[in-house]
């Protein structure tokens, strides 16, 4: 309980810090809107040009895009400590400071940064979700809402887990590793679209290695009554759990790796 309180208080403090520079804050928030709005324009253009993608209607595509945007930017907003701040913590030696406090390291890393500017990106995602839901005329029921919530929650877990891979590399080499970005940012860009439009190697990559398809596409397609590969309903609830699995494994790896942390000079 105290941990949640600590997280919320840290968030409040960090947001107040950012509002110390209000002009910069609002300009950057606006820039984020333009950026994510551009991503959505890309999807709209694809739909406009082709009408549909494989078996997927425009509304379905908006729904997939919205799910990914909401998950990814919620994670970047609240998990900024892991997704963006961690290399800085290691390089600047701030991680030492965190290690000197009687709290879990990951808790403190998460408490070390927040990115409220992403709120506009999340808003674009929500808009796409609503739009997609209307256009696909989804009849919302309780199980469908539950599947949606689970998908978003597990999506965040998966993305956080993937960013932890980068964190582990940073612990060993101090420099961030671009290769891992292929999984995180690459995964985001690729899996804005349903996985079955891709060739087999990419399908395997995004179903098993970085299981975006399991976490997002399987439940979302079921919600829209067009289950991916015709899989049964229970898969919409079980497959997303792979997100928690990835996060769990990476948390363990992270704590093993931190034993090899070597700090920087004084």
């Amino acid at each position: 309980m105290n941990t949640i309180r600590l997280y919320l208080r840290s968030m409040g403090m960090l947001i107040r810090c950012q509002l110390e520079y209000p002009v910069s804050f609002f300009m950057q928030t606006l820039a984020q809107l333009v950026m994510e709005g551009g991503e959505m324009m890309a999807v709209i253009l694809v739909i406009d040009r082709f009408g549909h993608l494989g078996q997927w209607e425009p509304g379905n595509l908006f729904f997939f895009f919205g799910t990914m945007s909401v998950c990814f930017y919620l994670t970047e907003m609240f998990g900024r400590g892991v997704t963006g701040n961690f290399p800085y913590l290691v390089r600047s030696g701030q991680l030492d400071t965190l290690l000197l406090r009687p709290r879990g390291l990951l808790t403190q890393v998460l408490c070390s940064a927040v990115d409220p500017r992403r709120i506009t990106c999340v808003a674009v995602g929500v808009t796409a979700l609503v739009l997609g839901s209307r256009m696909s005329s989804i009849a919302w029921t309780f199980p469908k809402a539950l599947a949606m919530a689970e998908s978003i929650l597990m999506g965040c877990a998966l993305i956080l887990g993937l960013f932890l891979i980068e964190a582990v590399f940073v612990i060993f080499s101090v420099k961030s590793v671009e290769l891992v970005n292929a999984l995180t940012y690459g995964g985001r860009s690729a899996c804005e679209y349903p996985v079955d439009i891709y060739p087999r190697p990419l399908r395997i990559l995004f179903s098993i290695v970085a299981p975006f398809a399991m976490v997002m596409h399987v439940p979302c397609s079921w919600i829209m009554d067009r289950p991916l590969y015709g899989w049964p309903a229970w898969t919409a609830f079980v497959c997303p759990l792979s997100g928690a699995l990835v996060l769990g494994i990476m948390v363990l790896v992270f704590y093993r790796a931190i034993r090899h942390y070597r700090s920087t000079g004084s």
Binding site: N2, C17, D96, L100, S263, G265, S266
Partner: protein, 321 residues
């Protein structure tokens, strides 16, 4: 068993060298930061830890505070192994890095402290009384509503100290705490550390390059060089070993035109002052004084203690650091 027990502590780092032209991989080099250090510290001691840059001082502090895991050797701090039960260990220690802030940059000090209260799970009453005590001792009262970034270096160091002592640590590490401070701030900081040590029995381990800090605070010093312990004991003993020359300044009235002394004493002039440096073991002070008295009528005479920094530099040279 002592409060801190360190036995045969070793730590190596692999450093990747810059890639040489023509070779595909970068060479790796192993640097031994600590080559088997042993020492013990009693509760309530004030221990100075000195050595040139890169001697392994910070590495020792980082291992003792649970940040780094050593390659081999044992450490026990009040029965705890720092890197094994980190959370339990750090609850009882405070660390101040001279060049690294532990507070939040853009918010008032009070907000930082109040967040630390949550981090350390301090009871409200305990926190309030301790904060009051520390703000009085560190004269921070007027600064509590000021953001850290607006404070001067001296004020910031006091604020950092307050932050790292809120949870009443039994052991305090200070890594170059007086770096960049002016004379007044340094003196105030030293007074505070002595007060904290006396009042609460806090064990303090201090690394510094400022010999005045050591002379003012630490009855006991440890010298580290190339990852090895070179000296452990009383500061005065250490100085006596390397303190071989003394300097005397003499002024005559009326001034004399020439001063003849044995060859072992070096004589120079600055204005109307005669400056004589000599080694007491070759030319005893009593003999020198009688020689000086014979030369004319002395108006004033000062015996200068050797600059402590010069002594330490001489010591590093002699120990080949």
């Amino acid at each position: 068993m002592s409060y801190i027990e360190v036995r045969d502590l070793r730590k190596t780092f692999t450093v990747r060298k810059k890639r040489e032209k023509g070779s595909l991989f970068r060479e790796r080099e192993t640097v031994e930061a600590l080559k088997g250090i042993s020492f013990s510290v009693e509760q309530g001691e004030l221990l100075g830890y000195i050595g040139p840059n890169g001697a392994g001082k910070s590495t020792t502090v980082k291992i003792l505070s649970g940040i780094l895991t050593p390659d081999s050797g044992t450490v026990s701090v009040n029965g705890r192994v720092p890197w094994e039960n980190r959370k339990e260990h750090v609850r009882h220690i405070g660390v101040v890095f001279g060049q690294r802030s532990q507070l939040w940059w853009d918010v008032p000090l009070l907000d930082s402290y109040s967040l630390l209260k949550d981090i350390y799970r301090l009871p409200e009453a305990d926190y309030t009384s301790r904060l009051k005590e520390l703000t009085e001792a560190l004269e921070l009262g007027g600064l509590l509503r000021t953001p850290l970034r607006l404070l001067s270096l001296g004020q910031r160091m006091r604020a950092e100290l307050c932050g790292s002592l809120l949870h009443r640590p039994e052991l305090l590490f200070l890594d170059e705490p007086t770096i960049g401070l002016d004379a007044v701030s340094k003196l105030a900081l030293r007074d505070f550390l002595l007060w904290e040590n006396r009042e609460h029995g806090t064990t303090i381990l201090l690394t510094t390059h400022d010999m005045e800090d050591i002379a003012a605070l630490c009855p006991r010093v440890m010298v580290l060089g190339h990852g090895q312990k070179l000296f452990d004991g009383d500061l005065q003993d250490l100085l006596r070993r390397f303190d071989t020359t003394r300097t005397v300044t003499v002024r005559y009235e009326p001034d004399i035109s020439a001063l003849s002394l044995p060859e072992s004493a070096a004589v120079s002039r600055s204005g109307s002052d005669w400056i004589i440096s000599y080694a007491p073991d070759q030319l005893p002070t009593a003999q020198l004084i009688s020689l000086l008295q014979d030369a004319g009528s002395i108006r004033e005479m000062t015996l200068q203690p050797e600059n402590i920094d010069h002594l330490i530099a001489a010591m590093y040279r002699e120990m080949d650091l």
